[in-house]
């Protein structure tokens, strides 16, 4: 609450005119720090803070397990996605398209962010885990593509390439034939 | 008694079959004489040699057979090879046997393709079976010749052709289609009958529940809201 009443505060310095008036908003001037309250007992402002990351072998196993969970995540999501796609239906309308779009974009984004996700986990099986993660995401993309195929959006038939076909050139030319006599 | 009637029936059928076959022969067997010309198109000579006879027993049923009067020999093979090397044509001339003024029908095929396929030829005869042909119920109108291979031919390859390998087919005119008014009228009548029979016999609630239920819900919600807001 910084409602200022000019009669209560001095306009030049901002300090309260009355002795009991408290400026809760903060003055913001550097010299104030020297007038501040003394530090509490036992507090040394020059102390350095250092922390130690020492993991016990148990926590190491936990980390690996967590990494594996992350790597297998996409594969676990495949049945769920299957069911979701089945529910969204086979027609071309806003909901199925949204579902397919989302299911295509999510694995793509995850693929690009692989390194970021696995940055916190380092270990001997990192590469294997990354590979599994990659495969899982590819499987999800494959699922989305299968849905596209059943919706009829992929150009797999000859009729899809018909518009690009050049007309056949003529080899023999015939003239005449009409009656003039 | 039964045996006698059975025998009579079988005999009768046989007789009628015979008559039917005789009827076909009476239709007029058409014999077409085929002559060919193996000289190049730039030469002036018109040397037509008779080479085959085609017997058309019934054009409508497609019963046709070919017999070759001139056997294939090495000289012919060589002239065909010469024609195919120069990209020239193998020409045929056909006419009906027995007609006073032979009305010739000419056709041709690419010599290279014929040679490459080993003289495998397909002759398509155009036979007119409509009654305008005058006295003859079948008359030769046209012919076309092609080799069923159709692939790129390399004229340098020399082959040894043992003999003719001909297939003959007959094409007759197709009667013109007539606008199909019968099925259309049938369809219209069926649709009219369905419309006449089809009446909505359901009860009032069964017909209009989709409108009544939301209205009731709305009423309840607004009424409940009022009560709740009190």
């Amino acid at each position: 609450m910084t409602v200022r009443n000019s009669s209560l505060y001095s306009l030049s310095t901002g300090a309260p005119k009355r002795r009991w008036g408290v400026e809760l908003g903060g003055g913001g001037r550097k010299d104030r720090i020297s007038d501040a309250l003394p530090s509490p007992p036992g507090y040394n402002p020059n102390m350095q803070i250092c922390s130690e990351t020492q993991r016990s072998p148990d926590s190491q196993k936990l980390v690996v397990k967590k990494a594996w969970d992350l790597a297998l995540g996409p594969i676990k999501g495949v049945p769920m996605n299957l069911f979701l796609l089945y529910m969204s239906g086979n027609s071309i309308s806003i909901f199925p398209i949204m579902m397919v779009g989302m299911m295509l974009m999510r694995p793509c984004k995850a693929l690009f962010a692989t390194n970021a996700t696995f940055s916190t986990f380092e270990g001997t099986q990192a590469i294997l885990q990354k590979a599994t993660y990659l495969l899982g995401n590819l499987a999800q993309i494959g699922l989305a593509l299968y849905k596209c195929q059943s919706l009829g959006l992929l150009p797999t038939h000859a009729s899809d390439w018909l518009a690009f076909q050049e007309p056949a050139s003529q080899v023999e030319f015939v003239h005449g034939g009409f009656g003039l006599w | 008694m039964k045996l006698i009637t059975l025998l009579l029936v079988v005999l009768f059928q046989h007789c009628s079959c015979q008559n039917f076959q005789d009827g076909l022969a009476l239709d007029g067997q058409l014999i077409v004489v085929i002559e060919d010309n193996l000289s190049s198109t730039s030469e002036e000579g018109n040397t037509w040699e008779e080479r085959s006879l085609v017997t058309v027993r019934s054009a409508k049923l497609g019963q046709v057979s070919i017999s070759h009067t001139r056997p294939w020999n090495e000289k012919l093979s060589k002239s065909l090879q010469k024609l195919s090397k120069s990209g020239d044509f193998y020409k045929l001339r056909l006419h009906q046997q027995g007609s006073k003024e032979p009305n010739f029908v000419y056709t041709f095929a690419d010599a290279c393709q014929l040679y490459a396929s080993g003289m495998r030829e397909h002759i398509n005869l155009m036979i007119d079976t409509t009654p305008s042909a005058g006295l003859l119920s079948q008359s030769l109108v046209g012919a076309s010749l092609y080799s069923p291979e159709g692939r790129l031919c390399h004229s340098d390859v020399s082959r040894s052709i043992k003999g003719y390998n001909s297939t003959v087919s007959v094409r007759t005119p197709v009667p013109g289609t007539v606008p199909d008014t019968a099925t259309y009228i049938q369809r219209i009548e069926m649709a009219n009958k369905e419309k006449a029979e089809n009446k909505d016999n359901r009860s009032f609630f069964a017909k209009y529940w989709i409108y009544i239920i939301p209205a009731v819900l709305l009423l309840m919600v607004s009424g409940g809201g009022q009560e709740g807001g009190r």
Binding site: L162, Q170, V171, V174, L180 | T107, Q113, G134, T177
Partner: protein, 931 residues
């Protein structure tokens, strides 16, 4: 409240978009010009003009069986009656008296009387002849005046003459039959009031039979009085024997009636002519006029009075002078002469003169209706030509649309670039072109504003291409030998050229080919016309520039042979000219222009094939064996086409492209089309053994001679109109047994796979015959002429344009007559196919000629424009009609009543409102912050 709701509902239902023309759009995209035909009888109607002033109306009868009345002030048609084609409608004589136009027409002859003012039929009297006149064999001559009608019928060796004196009942006065060995249906004879006079070129005599001799029943044949041609002062023109078997030569000596006098005849032999006066005793005396022997004399008009005057039209340098001579004295009456200027080649065919008393000073003034050999009708008075009607446009035989050139300043826009230039290069090129065009446009703007240009009123504004290439020049070739260049948007004639020495080819054909279009800038466009010589059966080739009509190159060339086939090649030479290949009757091949034989024809001789035909056979030839010295045809195939005779061979239009290679089925597979560019539809008609009509339709590949399909219709007659395009064929006919007009539709497919997708070869393709789908539909009306719409890329659906018997032009979408329309409604449906219905429904919104009636249509021509959605249609026959059609509605252009003002105003208003509101909102937020 309810009434308001009802009104709103009605308003909304009316406001639905309609696919046809709105009433205020009539005349915006189309125009119509009415014609009357080639005039052969005319008379001024003197009843309307009180106190002897000039006649206000002119009654004309034409060879196209049209009786019309023209307004003499401006030449407009006041009313016209279009009588049926053929002998039933031929108008044989015309007599105008007391406001009634009386004609004798029909077979057996009918005397019809029409009111000149309103055109209503007042009376119709049958003239009963004692014999049954067979119009096929014989010539009929009619002479009639206010009191009697004489009819003479000439057949081989016999002449039947009948006179009717009671015009109210049609009762005969007398009738006689004369047989002479020299009478035939081709005899040149003329009927006068008192005699039947004939001229025979082989005998060299003028033979006259006075009617006074017929009354005597002496038992002997009444004798003709003969006068030799030399005594009249004429000689028979000598014709060459080369073309003795040519049926189309012009007749050496002609005899015709003279307008205005029932006793005079005009005899013409070559360049000289003479007027004969026929006496009651059968004597034939030539009329002497002073100074009439020199110059080209055409026709004559004589007025009946004591001071009878004979008028002759004399061709004098670049002008025609109509001089009057006193019949009795032979002196020229200088006060009664008219003069007007014409082109160099014009010659007068018919002259009708009216003498009237000028209102001011009571002097006798003269007005003349002049009909020239090129069918143009002029009304000439003393100041000159009052009006001119080009009636050659009623017998159009060939039309071709030519693109207009782009202005020279923007020629750089279309300069040629290499085919495969690469994307970056094309972009740079395009940007440079657009930049230079912008600069030139700015310069033009500056120029215009600094010095406003004064357009010279004399020279017509040069025609340039418009934005969408809809403005084209129509080159029209007519049967009289006149070629016109017509502006297609306004119907005005840009240029006209008369070639007096040509006539149409035997089957009423004139061939027009565009050898070079305007697309090749420094070279002018070139067009060629193929016709026949008037005096022989030999061919004529005329090369000209379609934009100006002037002859280019060799101009008019008379060929020493008869033309059997003529067509234009698809390949061009270095100067972008496509050669015209002409095959003569002895199978010699010639190329026009002459240099192209070596440059274009010989390099392509292996792929060029030519088909020739006679009435029953078609023969295919190849140019393979041609050498540098001569082009030679070798026959490869020949086939007979029963029944009867071949009526027509219809190929596809050369510029017609196929956009998609196949049709998409319901299961997403493709059914490939069979598009054979060498396919032709051959139609043959004849009789079968029980004398019923038989129609045979063949689909023939003209290169290999293979018959792809052969359909035989029995009991089918009527004119067969064929439309052949892409991979489908539609033809219409009349079914005798079902007594209705039917339409048969064929479509050709290769199947689910293509043999060769890159090149179509007829020789290799013979082994895979296509699948043919057939279906027939019922048409509610008969068809006079047919064509199909054509666009540049063929993406829009093709529509069939049918000129109906009722006088309208119908636009029928092709998918309505698709042979694959399913019988049953269920099942997987292919896109674009509706369920089969046997009748082709023609709603009135599909008639592109809205409420106009076109009584006699002889052909329809369609051409593409620069827009893919639009095609232009030109209908010719007795009348000319031009319109634009949008087969798939107008999808690439804004509609013409697009409200630019409203939308721009609304846009600007909204933008301004948004800015102002933003400003206000910012101010309000600031104010609130300060509080």
């Amino acid at each position: 409240m309810e009434k308001l709701l009802l009104a709103l509902l009605i308003l909304v239902s009316i406001a639905l978009p309609s696919s046809s023309l709105h009433e205020d759009q009539i005349g915006k995209f189309d125009w119509i010009q009415r014609g009357i035909g080639s005039v052969h009888l005319a008379q001024f109607d003197e009843s309307g003009s009180a106190d002897g002033g000039p006649a206000r109306r002119l009654v004309v009868a034409t060879q196209h069986n049209v009786l019309a009345v023209l307004n003499t002030k401006n030449g407009e048609i006041m009313w016209r009656h279009v009588l049926p084609i053929g002998a039933t409608g031929t108008i044989e004589s015309l007599n105008v008296q007391e406001g009634k136009a009386v004609i004798v027409s029909d077979n057996p002859p009918l005397l019809r009387s029409f009111d000149v003012l309103s055109g209503t039929l007042i009376k119709e009297v049958p003239l009963k002849l004692h014999y049954k006149p067979d119009s096929l064999y014989g010539k009929r001559l009619v002479q009639h005046d206010s009191s009697s009608v004489t009819v003479a019928h000439l057949t081989s060796n016999t002449a039947e003459i009948t006179r009717f004196s009671n015009l109210k009942t049609g009762a005969q006065e007398w009738q006689h039959s004369i047989s002479q060995p020299w009478i035939s249906s081709e005899s040149q004879c003329g009927l006068t009031e008192v005699s039947l006079t004939c001229v025979d070129a082989s005998l060299g005599l003028v033979l006259s039979l006075p009617f006074s001799r017929l009354g005597k029943t002496t038992g002997k044949e009444p004798q003709f009085i003969s006068t030799s041609l030399e005594s009249i002062g004429l000689s028979v023109a000598v014709t060459s024997d080369d073309d003795a078997d040519c049926k189309f030569r012009s007749i050496p000596i002609t005899l015709q009636n003279v307008h205005g006098s029932p006793r005079h005849l005009l005899i013409t032999s070559g360049e000289s002519s003479s007027v004969l006066q026929v006496g009651s005793d059968g004597s034939v005396t030539p009329v002497k006029e002073a100074g009439a022997s020199s110059g080209a004399v055409s026709v004559v008009d004589v007025t009946q009075a004591d001071d009878a005057v004979i008028y002759r039209a004399l061709h004098h340098k670049q002008a025609i002078r109509i001089s009057g001579f006193s019949l009795a004295l032979g002196t020229e009456l200088v006060s009664r002469s008219l003069q007007f200027s014409v082109g160099a080649e014009a010659a007068v065919r018919m002259l009708v003169v009216q003498q009237y008393q000028r209102r001011g000073d009571g002097e006798v003034a003269v007005r003349a209706l002049v009909v020239m050999h090129d069918d143009s009708v002029h009304l000439v008075a003393s100041p000159g030509v009052l009006w001119l009607r080009e009636e050659a446009l009623a017998s159009v035989l060939a039309v071709e649309a030519v693109d207009l050139p782009i202005p020279a300043s923007s020629v750089s826009m279309h300069d040629h670039m290499a085919q495969r230039a690469g994307v970056l290069h094309s972009l740079v090129h395009r940007v440079m072109l657009q930049g230079s065009e912008l600069l030139s446009w700015l310069a033009e703007l500056l120029e215009d504003s600094l010095s406003p240009s004064h357009s010279s009123p004399d020279s017509p504004p040069a025609l340039y291409r418009d934005e969408f290439n809809i403005h084209k020049l129509l080159i029209i070739a007519t049967a009289s030998g006149k070629i016109f260049g017509m502006d297609n948007l306004s119907g005005a004639l840009v240029w006209s050229e008369y070639l007096p020495s040509i006539q149409p080819l035997p089957s009423d054909k004139l061939l027009l080919f565009l050898q070079r279009s305007v697309a090749h800038f420094p070279h002018p466009p070139q067009m060629v016309l193929v016709a026949m010589h008037k005096d022989s059966c030999r061919g004529v080739v005329h090369t000209f520039n379609p934009l100006t009509g002037e002859p280019t190159g060799k101009g008019l060339e008379f060929l020493p042979y008869r033309i059997s086939q003529a067509s234009m090649l698809a390949q061009n030479d270095q100067q972008f000219i496509k050669p015209l290949l002409v095959v003569d009757t002895s199978l010699g091949v010639h190329a026009f222009p002459s240099g192209t034989e070596l440059s274009v024809v010989l390099p392509h001789k292996d792929v060029l094939y030519i088909a020739t035909r006679n009435s029953t056979h078609i023969t295919g030839h190849s140019l393979r064996s041609s050498t540098k010295e001569s082009l030679k045809l070798t026959p490869l195939w020949s086939q007979h086409f029963p029944p009867g005779t071949i009526e027509g061979v219809y190929t596809k239009r050369p510029g017609d492209k196929v956009h998609s290679a196949g049709r998409v089925m319901a299961d997403r597979s493709v059914l490939y089309k069979y598009t054979n560019p060498n396919l032709a539809v051959v139609v043959a008609r004849g009789l079968d053994h029980i004398n019923e009509n038989l129609l045979g339709v063949y689909l023939v590949d003209l290169v290999s001679g293979a018959v792809v399909d052969w359909i035989s219709h029995s009991r089918v007659s009527g004119p067969v109109h064929v439309i052949h395009s892409e991979n489908w064929v539609v033809y219409t006919y009349y079914h005798d047994r079902n007594r209705r007009h039917e339409l048969h539709s064929l479509e050709l497919f290769e199947g689910p796979s293509q043999a060769n997708a890159t090149a179509f070869s007829s020789l290799a393709g013979a082994q895979r015959p296509p699948l043919v789908e057939r279906q027939a539909y019922i048409l509610p009306f008969g068809v006079q002429a047919s064509a199909h719409t054509i666009t540049e890329k063929s993406i829009t659906t093709k529509c069939l344009l049918l000129a109906l018997d009722t006088g309208g032009i119908a636009q029928v979408a092709r998918w309505l007559v698709d042979p694959r329309r399913p019988m049953s409604g269920g099942g997987p449906r292919e896109e674009g196919l509706v369920q089969y219905m046997p009748e082709v429904h023609l709603p009135s919104t599909d008639i592109i000629s809205y409420n106009q009636t076109l009584p006699r249509v002889s052909g329809i021509y369609s051409a593409p424009t620069g827009l893919e959605s639009t095609s232009i249609v030109f209908v010719y026959g007795l009348d000319l009609f031009f319109s634009r059609v949008f087969p798939s509605k107008m999808f690439d252009m804004l509609k013409d009543d697009f409200d630019y003002v409203l939308i721009a105003g609304a846009l600007l208003g909204l933008v301004a409102a948004a800015l102002i509101t933003r400003k206000l909102a910012q101010r309000k937020a600031l104010y609130h912050q300060w509080k």
